[in-house]
Symmetry: C2
Subunit: 213 residues, 2 copies
Amino acid sequence: MSRATDRAYAEIRGLILSGDAPPGSPLTEEALADICGVSRTPVRDALRRLEAELYVVRTDTQRIYVANWSHDDVDEMFALRAMLEAHAAARAATRIDSVALDALRDCNVRIEAAVARDPADVAAFLTDNRRFHQIIIDAAESPRLTTMLAALVEQPVVRRTAARYSPGELRRSAQEHAALLQAFAARDAEWARAAMTGHIRRASHSFRAAAPD
Amino acid sequence: MSRATDRAYAEIRGLILSGDAPPGSPLTEEALADICGVSRTPVRDALRRLEAELYVVRTDTQRIYVANWSHDDVDEMFALRAMLEAHAAARAATRIDSVALDALRDCNVRIEAAVARDPADVAAFLTDNRRFHQIIIDAAESPRLTTMLAALVEQPVVRRTAARYSPGELRRSAQEHAALLQAFAARDAEWARAAMTGHIRRASHSFRAAAPD
DNA sequence: AGCAATGCTATTGTATACAAATATTGTGGG
DNA sequence: CCCACAATATTTGTATACAATAGCATTGCT
């Protein structure tokens, strides 16, 4: 993407993630254009991208609002993510090369270090966790899967809640990553699928426990 | 969508489906704008939509080409579709109301009639088949699932091959729909999931058999 | 002849003006 | 007081002009 569109995208995304534009609030192209210091054209492009990534929703009359995720929506999102990411893991198991596998191991070493700290370094955990999952998705070598999962991971509602995970849950997550690494090393697609399914579904329940009502 | 954007979308999609714009051929905004009789702005919107639906691909330098599906791509598409549509069927089984269920039965009656004709009315089969699947997806009540499946069903490569299905395969398809109807009537989510998985995967193999090399 | 640099052409990116559609406000009638 | 309808304001849709950038070919050098 080009400069102005990128800027608009980052700016609007920031408004949503920071909470300055709370869920359900209306967004108008012109107001956003003013805020971002660009014209409406790149704002429109950015909004289409944010719509695809489910940050915003569009009514039948083309008006745009910040997405408002219900608990059911979040559950459904995790269910879809579990299916698709497990599929990605299964594909990756038979395709991943040693370089990517090493990168994965390296990632989890850093995750374990972040978790072992007191207090746990949640920001570092989240960064390397995202990297870990992205390496697997890339190794699955399926552009369609990549596109679809981009719309599911890193949702605002998930990010806002991430800081509330307990140290025990963070440790558990790192252990599950280790199991995944074993499945990859064994080139066992079904093991990888099962491990990833469990990993995401456990995360789903952790989220429910940590989420504010 | 608005008039000009709709028109551009339909026109470009037609070019791709008819083969006038063959896979791999480059598309430029201005040429498309001329063909469609609109300006570049609605063409850009239409291209974004077609990109999301995987009809076209965009290079890293923002140039657009008609998508070129390899056999592996098609296999992967069917695998994803089987997972997601089976999930939709499972959700639909416990949510579908009697009106939608009747609509589904009505659809399959027409499908059976189209199949029974000699020669089989493939166009009618395809139309009602699409309706059948769409009713299920809608009954699943998951906007995310709806969006994702929109990118997988009715791909050009699938449409081009549809006419080659054998009468036996068309009949088999109608029978599988009947099984799905039973699962819905019984409100059995796992039965519905299994029936849909089998239905799509069988279709995948039919496609491979019918597809030209 | 092969390669690189440079200018030219084609294509996409952005801004802006205006048209169309949608929401809102106010006013009159019941 | 409430509802319907009309006038008005707001917002999105489209066209067009111009800017920036990527691709291409020509030319000059080694």
